[in-house]
Amino acid sequence: MAPKVHILREEKEDIFQAVLLADNFGYSIFGPQWAEKRYPNRNIFGDDDDDDDDDSEYGDDKQKGEKDITQEEPEIDPNLSQECLIPLGNRKLLDYSLEALTVSGVQDIFIYCSSGVKGGTAIKDHIRNSKWSDLNVKISVISSEDCDSLGDALRDLDAKGMIRNDFILMAAGVLTNIALKPLLEDHRKIMKLDKGAVMTLIHRKMPVGHRSRSVRDNQSILLDHNTGKVLAYSNKIQDKGMKIPTENLKREMEVILNTVDTGIAVCSSSVLPLFTDNFDFVSIQDFIKNILMNEEVMGNTIYLRQMKTGYANRIVDFDSFMGVSLDVLERWSYPLVPDMPFGSNPGDPVYHMGANFVYKVANVIASRDAIIGPVAVVGCETTVGKCVTIQNSSIGRRCFVGQNSVITNAQIGDGVTIEDGCKIDRCVILDGACITLDRNMPPNSLIVGDRTFQIQNNPTEDDESDEDDDDYAANGKDNMMYGGHQEADFTRFSEEVMESLHRGFTDNVALDNLFVEIQGSRTANFMYFDHATVAVIKGILGLAPRLYSDFLESSLVIQWNKTKVIVVKYTELLKLYVKNLAGQESLLKTIEEYANDCPYFRPMTMQLLHYYYDEDILSQDVIFKWYKKESLYEAGAEIRNKVQKFIEWLETASEESEDE
């Protein structure tokens, strides 16, 4: 047995592991149509590849036509089927993520590729042909045919049992220069304080409207300011306020709107089993939602770290792709910039940055008339003709750009030929394409070989409707409570409250415990806080007849004395419910309603109001307001009559105090 234990310990040894998703599971940077095209047999929302593929959207007009074509030729260039192999700057998107991981000292990287063996092979080939293969880092590519979501991928990884430690989960298309090891260490510190901490989400501060921020990627998050614990999480910007369960209120909270999810999450080793246990988790959003909703039951918590410095961003759609590519060329992501030789082989030529962020390499033949820059990358053995303008763009290796062409905001792969006089704006051109003058090149296009796909970027209406129920908070049940209740539920709840009060009175239960008990049954019955207030008041008033069988027959004085004992006992409890003006109004309304229903009580109303006034539960103004307001109840006038003396007394008292 001894050696076995030893082996176990060795495996537990702190290997820094990371999971890098190669695609975004049916959610393509180029839009859902693209994902559909890639997986003609699959349901779009089920299985988008998420990670790295960049640009697969087609224009709406062209969609139908294109789809037909697709069906005829479902075979897609394997390079294309992997978003992570899209060109960005002078290398592939995957290289940036790998560099971020390896520089941070990750020793064991799993690249999860959902698009089957073909995609996996393309990635493997890429890794083999670049520096990554001879680094001292273990990179495993896992390809799966039938993996439809992030959830499936993580369950698969759990089944394979390759991840034993806390790990970094990196979505597709992530670029960052933030050191990941400290993030992992911070997460471990949190785990020491809070055993249930399963994940730390990494967000980067970035205001709405930032060029690199996707319009689709919005979150409103409520954090505990001191610990960074996520209290509530919503997948959209909340303009109408957020629902926060009262249990979650902390002294210092922070609402976060101006951040983006960087696609990096530090995960405890328990994350994978959690996915396995909950086979319905599809996305990370499901996971967050579920963890927050079941926080009380499961004891799991999620934390969020908001980065204010350093570069971290994730390409989720075409807009953010364009923004991020500019960030890279303008060096915000340093050292992930074109003139750093990461990912390339030792023999490869190194790019150098000149003025105006122009990156050039040996063997570029550029005409003297060509205007290259500001912000441009030109790869080696590329020829740039006369009077060409290249701006905010990168051009791969062995390309040819004909005379008078204008290239702006484009990412162009290797071996692309662009004929004279072409105008290219906001396009992504994959390796080996040929652009002729008569070819239709609208902005926002993805060009693959001889096909052009227009990228549709704004969120479709479908997306909007999906988001409506994306609101979740810790102890999410409380939100459901707001969803409207049934009369029957309220009656049951009132009955429970009455039971509690009854027992509390006879057994002399401490008020704190009673409060907790009532809160418990409130939550169980999905009741609002206001409902609880009403139920408690009615309970207090109705307790006397319930306690004493001869109550209704006894004299008014005895009735009041018995009622008053109960009222006095529960004064402090009531104060927990009646805290503000609205509470006071609700109290008065309930008393009136009760008096309306139970005629015996009407004579006592004045004494009760007087008592609550003396106890500062009711304020003068609210009483006046209530008194002057027309009653909704039959006996309203009678009740007002009964309390008239009290009102007069109040008026005199207030006048006197004013006189003074």
Binding site: H210, R331, P346, N356, F357
Partner: protein, 316 residues
């Protein structure tokens, strides 16, 4: 073998960086020397390192020195072995980039060369470690009572130098220029003030001219000393040294020997390339106004021409 010396952390302290690089390199060399064809391997490595971090020269400087040492050792051995061919002077005038030690066939086998080279590496490594202290030995000769010293950014060598002077009971005052984009001067000032109780004034490098008349010496570190005697130093140095020239304030440059580089400053020579880091230290990434309308350059180095420098202090 790792060839990329990672530059991911943004080189807050250039000097430290260079030092660590050089030290790491020596370690690698010790291990790798088991291979044959040492010289060719060294040259290749030098090239690879230069390519990997184009703006860092310390490691390839170190390799050049090592190549030189090996060649000398080899030649010396040859000489003993075959005294007839004593056409080499025992100590040829040292040039870092010189490869001409007469026509020597380096492919010949020479006994015991390996252990000699290893010893040379150890010497080099020891020299590297003690370089800061060695330079600081001279501190009391250069810093006098009541001096006002101006320095730029943070430099370990300069810090040691000042601390040494303080330990020798010199009373002096230091003015530190902050120097973007990393503003390392702040760190330097805090260190001098809090840890060593030296009176310190911290100011922006752009405002240095106004105090230069009061300064009695400028003492700076550098990233590299180029072959013409100029410096590749922290950004902001050039204007400060021009101000020093205007007031005829002496400028002392403290440099361990591994900072000597055989490269000449020339705009086309990529080997002295500047480094452009993330503009984040100058402008916030969240600042939409700037992000959308301007390009921001964050340069790390300045070129300082040799005529602005009064004195170099080396460690040997």
């Amino acid at each position: 073998m790792t060839t990329t010396i990672s530059t991911a952390d943004g080189e807050k302290v250039m000097e430290d960086k260079a030092y660590i690089e050089a030290a790491a390199l020596l370690q690698i060399l010790e291990i790798s020397l088991k291979r044959g064809e040492v010289l060719r391997w060294l040259k290749n490595t030098s090239e690879r390192l230069t390519n990997a971090a184009i703006s860092e020269s310390a490691s390839s400087n170190m390799i050049h020195r090592l190549i030189k040492i090996i060649q000398e050792e080899f030649a010396a051995k040859k000489k003993i072995e075959n005294s007839a061919s004593s056409n080499l002077p025992a100590h040829a005038p040292s040039r870092l980039d010189s490869t001409e030690l007469g026509i020597v066939d380096f492919t010949e086998e020479v006994p015991d060369l390996r252990s000699d080279i290893l010893n040379a590496i150890l010497d080099l490594s020891a020299e590297l470690e003690s370089s800061g202290e060695n330079i600081a030995e001279d501190a009391e000769k250069h810093i006098h009572q009541q001096d006002v010293i101006l320095t730029v950014g943070k430099s370990r060598t300069v810090e040691k130098f000042l601390v040494k002077a303080k330990a020798k009971k010199r009373r002096f005052e230091v003015i530190v220029a902050t120097c973007g984009p990393f503003y390392t001067g702040r760190e330097m000032a805090a260190q001098l003030k809090n840890r060593y109780k030296i009176p310190v004034t911290l100011m922006e490098d752009t405002g240095v001219f106004s105090v230069m008349s009061r300064v009695s010496k400028v003492i700076i570190g550098t990233h590299t000393i180029l072959a013409n005697g100029g410096l590749k130093a922290i950004a902001g140095c050039h204007p400060i040294l021009l101000a020093a020239k205007h007031y005829n304030v002496p400028v002392l440059v403290l440099a361990p020997i591994y900072k000597l580089s055989p490269d000449y400053p020339s705009s086309n020579n990529v080997k002295i390339a500047n480094r452009f880091v993330s503009p984040e230290n100058l402008v916030k990434y969240e600042d939409l106004q700037v992000m959308n309308n301007a390009h921001v350059y964050a340069t790390v180095f300045d070129y300082v021409p040799p005529e602005l420098i009064t004195l170099f202090i080396f460690n040997m």
